[in-house]
């Protein structure tokens, strides 16, 4: 059984938003609904100023607060690491939305708090989901953390990486390259 992870090198992101719309069309989302987003931060004073762009989506945490707060087990952790939602079990209580420290969930038209699915239909074939594949700067690399030869493990070995909000103890499966 694979255990999936994602490494994001945000230093390469130029904010084109292709990852957002590629995901929307693949997952048949309306224009207003997104499973990923960019956090943009400007620091410094003119002319010594810079912009950071951080692509964000569900972190598929190993210790996911949304899983533990869900009263019906509609949100659950799969063996391969994906945090999945059983829509039929969801009662729309929105506990998961409140529990998520990364603001990964949005309410859809059917009142289900939805989020990035990690597109298993791609990962299971060893392919990159649309958000990663379309990216002209190869910002995202998905892969199997248990496979020592995977590209993701190569990147993890060559770079220092951080997770977001480690103090929350969520153990995210997304690693950001520290640059």
């Amino acid at each position: 059984m694979a255990r999936y992870g994602l490494v994001i090198d945000d230093s390469k992101c130029t904010g084109c938003t292709a990852c957002t719309i590629a995901c929307q069309l693949h997952n048949n989302l309306e224009p207003e609904m997104t499973y990923n987003r960019l956090e943009i931060l400007e620091t410094g004073t003119y002319p010594n100023v810079k912009m950071d762009i951080m692509p964000m989506q569900c972190m598929h945490c190993d210790n996911a607060p949304c899983v533990s707060v869900c009263p019906t087990q509609a949100t659950y952790k799969r063996e391969d690491g994906i945090v999945a939602i059983d829509y039929d079990k969801c009662i729309g209580c929105k506990y998961c939305m409140t529990a998520c420290p990364y603001d990964a969930r949005k309410l859809n038209e059917e009142r289900v708090p939805v989020k990035c699915r990690w597109c298993p239909e791609y990962l299971e074939k060893g392919e990159q989901p649309p958000c990663a594949a379309t990216c002209m700067n190869d910002v995202r690399v998905f892969g199997d953390l248990d496979d020592p030869n995977s590209k993701i493990n190569k990147i993890l070995a060559e770079n220092e990486v951080v997770s977001l909000l480690p103090e929350k103890g969520t153990k995210p499966s997304i690693f950001y390259v520290k640059k």
């Binding site: 957002t20 590629a22 048949n28 400007e42 829509y87 239909e121 379309t134």
Partner: protein, 735 residues
């Protein structure tokens, strides 16, 4: 009436299908199973989101486009696509598309008409106009020149020289300089370069996805990237250094760089001696343009200019200054000289035809259909004056001066206008002047949606098939990146036409027949494609299946030489530092300092230069009616105008405030983003917004457009709009 909501439409079409298929709005649990059951057809074609024309693989279910992916082989995409590409694909289903021919009635309202009626009426009117005023009064305005070989047959028949592209609003100053000095354009070899200067060129805004991929890979290998731009553009985000330059002064910066290269002896003397003509003349006029001189003008320190020139020379020939695209090349009075200086700087370091420097694109020669020749009356001078003695002699006639056509209607010189895949009412300066197009005797808009030109100016609107619904003449892949292997790409239908539209040959043929010319178009686009690929040893079926086909490498390094002599297509065969054609009326052919036409008065707190640029998820105004892309604009405050924090503070303007902005021709309200990421002298707006067609419902009344504020002007050498030669006054508060 078709329901266009993505989900319900998908559901409906899935339900109607015979084969079992993905219900498409499925719960996650069912997704995998459903995806396995789906019949997904993957059809290659190429994108229409911008002129990069990336290869795409369209995924189609039940005749409905689901999504697209980047074509893995195509040089512009190599598997990657930008947001616009995805958005444009979905736009096939926009409810604001033109669904059948329309005619504007006497009351100004549009009424539905048949193609037969449209062809008959347009043909008869055009015939009358040609009879009365000659073919010289007829104009075809198109974005690019893709349809030109077809239009030419009609225009040869009626005797019109007036095929006009949109390039005067885009990059005339660049292509003109390159044509005169080099005989054609080269592109940067990003992948192998060690030092790249992007000056006024936002490669991450005007995107070639695979080009960006090569740039970020080069950066990982240690290539240094310098961005010189008044705004911290998206490419600045990955640069080693961002240098905000005073807008309009790039020419001074470039002259000073050349000054350092020459006065410090850093230039490639062997290369210059062998391959450059006019070096002495250039130096004679520019000896005095020192870094100290340029510091005053540009705001970049003399020391910095020296540092850059030295580093540029040190890394050469694996170093180049980007030849650029739109940025700088339709913007200022000195745009042509600025473009000339890009050529001169690159030539001074000897990077022409060198890996890591500037290289041509590999290409193949296509065949063509043998068609009966068309005979018609002799053509007169171009009505826009491009290339005409005593008018705009130095402007390239093949590109024309698009933003002058409406005024030529007002002068009574233009009587019939065809506007195809083009929207001059939004993309040319001074919309009120552009609206005069409607006063011609015949105005036909051949566009896919209710853009401003269709809505405000057209007498007839004829829907062309959308790019996903049609074949086109094959395209040799080239532009903005270099590659060793020539490629050709095919645009082919991936879905059936959704509306009562036609392809361009049938539209032209219908109009010709309406005029009584029954045999001008004795061929189909398929015939044309087959003739084009005949010399290449591939079949139509192979091309349809592959979408993009790559051929063995043809590219060689080294300056083109013929019989031992430099063989560029220029007067001397060398790079001409002095452009012969520009020497008209006692002018000089080498670039030297020309100040911008206007300058904001630095003593006035409310004066700014208005500049603009391409947002990475929009293709100028072309995508502003797209629901997905406009939702992106909402999400990222994309409609706001950027203003430097210190300047905003002086005027009491806070982030998110509405201000009133006024130029000599317009006064409008706009929301402001207060930021440190822009030079204090200017404000910046994205080139996307300001839709004013009520029937393009998503774009309508959202934001402002730079064109609203600029009068119609013509850059004297290359004919472009000088779109950043405008000073605006800004005050806090609504109008």
């Amino acid at each position: 009436m078709r329901q266009f909501n993505r989900r319900t439409f998908l559901k409906a079409s899935a339900a109607a299908a015979v084969v079992s298929s993905v219900p498409l709005y499925v719960s996650f649990n069912n997704y995998k199973k459903a995806a396995e059951d789906a019949t997904v057809h993957k059809i290659p074609s190429f994108c229409q989101g911008c002129t990069s024309y990336c290869g795409i693989i369209a995924h189609v279910k039940n005749d409905r486009l689901w999504k697209i992916e980047g074509h893995p082989i195509h040089l512009k995409s190599r598997g990657h696509l930008c947001a616009r590409g995805h958005g444009m694909a979905d736009y096939a289903y926009s409810k604001d598309r033109i669904q059948h021919p329309w005619k504007r009635g006497d009351n100004g309202e549009f009424e539905k008409i048949s193609w037969d009626q449209a062809f008959k009426e347009i043909g008869e009117k055009l015939k009358d106009i040609v009879k009365k005023y000659s073919g010289n009064s007829v104009v075809w305005m198109e974005h690019g020149s893709h349809r030109k070989p077809y239009v030419d047959r009609l225009f040869d028949k009626i005797g019109s020289p007036n095929f006009v592209t949109q390039y005067s609003t885009c990059f005339n100053s660049k292509t003109n300089a390159w044509q005169q000095m080099v005989g054609g354009t080269l592109s940067g070899d990003h992948q192998k370069s060690k030092y790249i200067i992007f000056e006024g060129r936002n490669f991450a805004g005007g995107i070639v996805p695979n080009g960006m991929n090569l740039i970020t890979k080069a950066k990982e290998q240690g290539t240094k990237i310098l961005v010189i731009d008044p705004r911290y553009s998206e490419i600045a985000k990955i640069a080693d250094e961002w240098l905000p330059i005073r807008p309009g002064t790039d020419l001074a910066f470039r002259l000073a760089m050349a000054n350092v290269l020459i006065s410090e002896g850093l230039y490639d003397k062997v290369f210059v001696k062998k391959y450059v003509d006019g070096f002495d003349e250039f130096w004679k006029y520019n000896k005095h343009n020192t870094p100290e001189w340029a510091e005053e003008i540009t705001g970049i320190s003399a020391q910095k200019i020296r540092e850059i020139a030295r580093e540029f020379a040190k890394n050469a020939p694996q170093a180049f200054i980007e030849p650029g695209w739109h940025g700088l090349h339709a913007h200022y009075l000195n745009s042509t000289q600025t473009a000339q200086m890009a050529i001169i700087l690159n030539a001074l370091v000897g990077n022409f035809y060198q890996r890591g420097g500037l290289m041509p694109s590999a290409t193949v020669t296509l065949g063509h259909l043998e068609l009966p020749e068309v005979f018609g009356p002799e053509k007169g001078d171009r009505v826009d004056g491009a290339g005409v003695d005593g008018e705009f002699k130095t402007v390239e006639p093949a590109r024309g001066i698009s933003h002058l056509i409406a005024n030529k209607v007002a002068e009574g010189k233009v009587k019939a206008v065809f506007v195809c895949n083009n929207n001059p009412l939004r993309t040319s300066p001074s919309p009120e002047e552009q609206k005069q197009l409607k006063d011609a005797d015949l105005v036909v808009s051949i566009n896919i949606d209710w853009n401003e030109t269709s809505y405000h100016a057209a007498h007839y609107i004829l829907p062309e098939h959308y790019y996903l619904e049609r074949y086109e003449h094959p395209y040799t892949v080239s532009g903005h990146i270099t590659h060793e292997h020539p490629q050709i790409a095919l645009r082919q239908p991936v879905i059936k036409p959704l509306h009562d539209s036609k392809n361009i040959i049938d539209i032209l043929d219908g109009i010709a027949k309406g005029m009584g010319y029954n045999d001008l178009y004795p061929f189909t686009v398929e015939d044309d494609i087959k003739a084009a690929i005949a010399p290449l040893g591939i079949t139509f079926e192979q091309l349809k299946k592959a979408g993009t086909i790559e051929f063995p490498a043809t590219l060689k390094t080294g300056f083109p030489i013929n019989k031992g002599k430099p063989a560029l297509k220029t007067k001397s065969g060398k790079i001409q530092f002095s452009a012969e054609l520009f020497k008209l009326d006692g002018k000089i052919g080498v670039p030297t300092w020309i100040a911008p036409k206007v300058m904001p008065d630095s003593s006035k707190a409310d004066e700014f230069r208005l500049i603009h640029g391409k947002q990475p998820w929009h293709s100028h105004a072309m995508t502003n009616n797209n629901n997905y892309l406009m939702a992106m604009s909402e999400r990222y405050d994309g409609m706001s105008m950027w203003m430097n924090t210190a300047r905003a503070n002086k005027l009491g303007i806070k982030n998110g405030d509405t201000v009133t902005m006024e130029s000599s021709i317009a006064k409008k309200e706009v929301k402001v983003k207060v930021t440190e990421l822009i030079h204090p002298d200017c404000v910046w707006v994205p080139s996307t917004y300001g839709g004013y067609s009520p029937k393009n419902t998503t774009a309508y009344n959202v934001g402002v457009n730079f064109n609203d504020f600029i009068p119609v002007m013509v850059e004297p050498w290359s004919g472009s709009t000088m779109s950043q030669e405008v000073v605006v006054k800004i005050r806090k508060g609504a109008m």
